[in-house]
């Protein structure tokens, strides 16, 4: 009787946290949309959002047309993209850490980021424009996927182990970094564009960016959540996971591909944003525990909140916009050092 009670309490506790995080994210989206060079009160933001989503133009009354356009056409796409990318990187990082049995893994461990960076640099330097503004993201995505394919190929002559995957990722990343350096070297005046892209930014994102990232995140999240229980078992090692009913080979392939697709699409719209995918799963594991069925949704909301907060700070609060990738690394890096030290002292690593 008593034990059951405790179980229910834990589930309520976790449900409460999840609701809190979701509410926080929704609140921050509304608040952030009001912040910027032209301040818009949050009530007006809420009205614009309701009016646009449910098609009630009457709600517009009293909100200026300019304010409405700024909120809906300029700010919200950027805000939503940053939240979705943050969520995606955090989900992807959680899955990678579970899959590679390595708490230091992140979405970029398998070279997805350097592949995307190489693809984007190539598109920028060759001035490829047949797809308009989508050329760079498209090349970045293709670069990420090709790199992933090559890393998988490299790591599996006989059987794919976490160890082989990580090593292959490191090798391929090193080669691609040299390639990117070379592209920068021959880029002349284009070099600043490449550097800016690599540092990551959510400036001038559109609703189609929101749509694409949301779609990929939703699909990837569904797969990851479906496999979350199997991912728990994989923490016991392949042999035990197999004996507990997991088709380890197939499940790890499926999870690798979904997590990498999420990461690739995030990188291709926003550039390289580090530490979110590494840090968020760590912070959330403290609250939710290591059970991936709970950890994945926790990380998703927290990642969204974190990156949205970071992007809002650089967009609306700092006097001059700092590239978001630089900001996350500057804040996330030292914070990770702190967590790392504390964990080591408690012997939990």
């Amino acid at each position: 009787m008593k034990k059951k009670h405790a179980g229910v309490e834990i589930r309520l506790f976790r449900g409460g946290w999840l609701l809190l995080l979701a509410g926080l994210l929704a609140g921050m989206i509304v608040l952030a949309a009001g912040l910027g060079q032209m301040a818009v009160p949050w009530t007006d933001v809420a009205r614009v959002i309701f009016a646009k989503t449910f098609g009630h133009p009457s709600l517009f009354e009293g909100v200026g047309e300019v304010a409405a356009a700024i909120v809906w056409d300029v700010r919200l796409p950027r805000i939503l993209t940053s939240a979705i990318v943050g969520a995606g990187l955090a989900v992807s990082g959680t899955v990678f850490q579970g899959l590679l049995l390595n708490p230091l893994a992140d979405p970029y461990t398998l070279g997805v980021s350097s592949g995307a960076a190489f693809g984007a640099s190539l598109a920028l330097i060759l001035n490829i424009g047949f797809m308009g503004t989508y050329s760079v993201p498209l090349f970045a995505f293709m670069g990420a996927e090709l790199t992933l394919g090559f890393v998988l190929f490299l790591s599996s002559p006989r059987q794919t182990t976490a160890h082989n995957l990580i090593l292959s990722g490191i090798i391929v990343t090193a080669i691609l970094s040299a390639g990117i350096s070379f592209l920068k070297y021959i880029a002349d005046e284009q070099v600043s564009v490449i550097i800016f892209w690599l540092m990551g930014s959510f400036a001038s994102k559109t609703w189609s960016d929101v749509g694409i990232t949301a779609l990929v995140l939703a699909a990837g999240l569904a797969v990851c959540q479906y496999c979350a229980r199997d991912l728990n078992l994989m923490a016991l090692g392949g042999r035990s996971a197999g004996a507990l009913g997991v088709n380890v080979k197939r499940t790890s392939r499926v999870l690798l591909l979904s997590a990498s697709c999420i990461a690739a699409v995030c990188v291709s719209v926003s550039g390289i944003i580090g530490f979110v995918g590494l840090l968020v799963p760590h912070m959330m594991r403290e609250i939710s525990g290591p059970d991936n069925r709970i950890l994945i949704p926790f990380s998703m909301f927290a990642g969204g909140i974190l990156l949205l907060a970071g992007d809002t700070v650089t967009r609306a609060i700092l006097p001059r916009e700092i590239p978001i990738g630089v900001l996350t690394a500057l804040i996330g890096g030292p914070f990770f050092c702190y967590i790392f030290r504390r964990r080591q002292r408690r012997g939990k690593f």
């Binding site: 728990n232 090692g237 042999r239 197999g242 088709n247």
Partner: protein, 267 residues
Amino acid sequence: MGFHVKGIRFSFNEVPIFNDLSLQFSPGRFYGILGPNGSGKTTLLDMLIAHLRPDAGQIEFMGRPLAGFSHHSLARYIALVPQDYDIRFPFTVTQTVTMGRYPHMPRFSAPDRRDLRSVDAALEATGTEIFRNRLITELSSGERQRVVFARALAQDTPWLLLDEATAHLDIAHTLGILDIASGLVRHKGRTVIAVFHDMNIAAAYCDELILMKNGDIHAAGSVESVLTQSHIRSVFQVAAKVGYNSYVNAHQVMLKRITAAETGLKS
């Protein structure tokens, strides 16, 4: 109705492990597998849980080819206690043992009353309920091994495979775990296949022994027919004195290294 291993061949990283291995396991018995390091004991268990597949030959389980079972359905029949049980993430002991119920639980549901009862029973039987809320990463290796055994108990399968499942345990806990396993065989008709290093413990618990050497079966059958002076000498290269011991109520072995004079070799 049990396992029927028919002429399997298997090599790992181009090193041949099994050449033409055949044997059978019948339900309701306690089997012990003995053999020197690298004789293929663990690989044989890996074959039985379908973690590895033979290059040639066939394994039948319950009259059907083992390869036809999905991992998921197999997990309801066979539980494994591995020798490596490094768990990297800080799951609680209860969470870890509950994982043994996953093969019986629908994917998205919480453990029902029966699952919880199995978990509680497994924790209690192994004496691990006193640290049920502690983190698995904070336990000693012996404590962790008992938790992993509890997980296999919670899995509640007709077949239980133990791969040196007591390697990190003190003697009291070793005997405790093996008493549980042998109780399952005697009272519930379960089957246990266990890899041992200690011949005396194996002799005290097993109905049948399988003595392996270089991926082949050197001897198999009742304890007294397998544990003989000449078998032990040719498989382990040690001298042995074997006899029935009334205190243990089983055959027991006294071992001695073969001296240089006996072998004519420099040791």
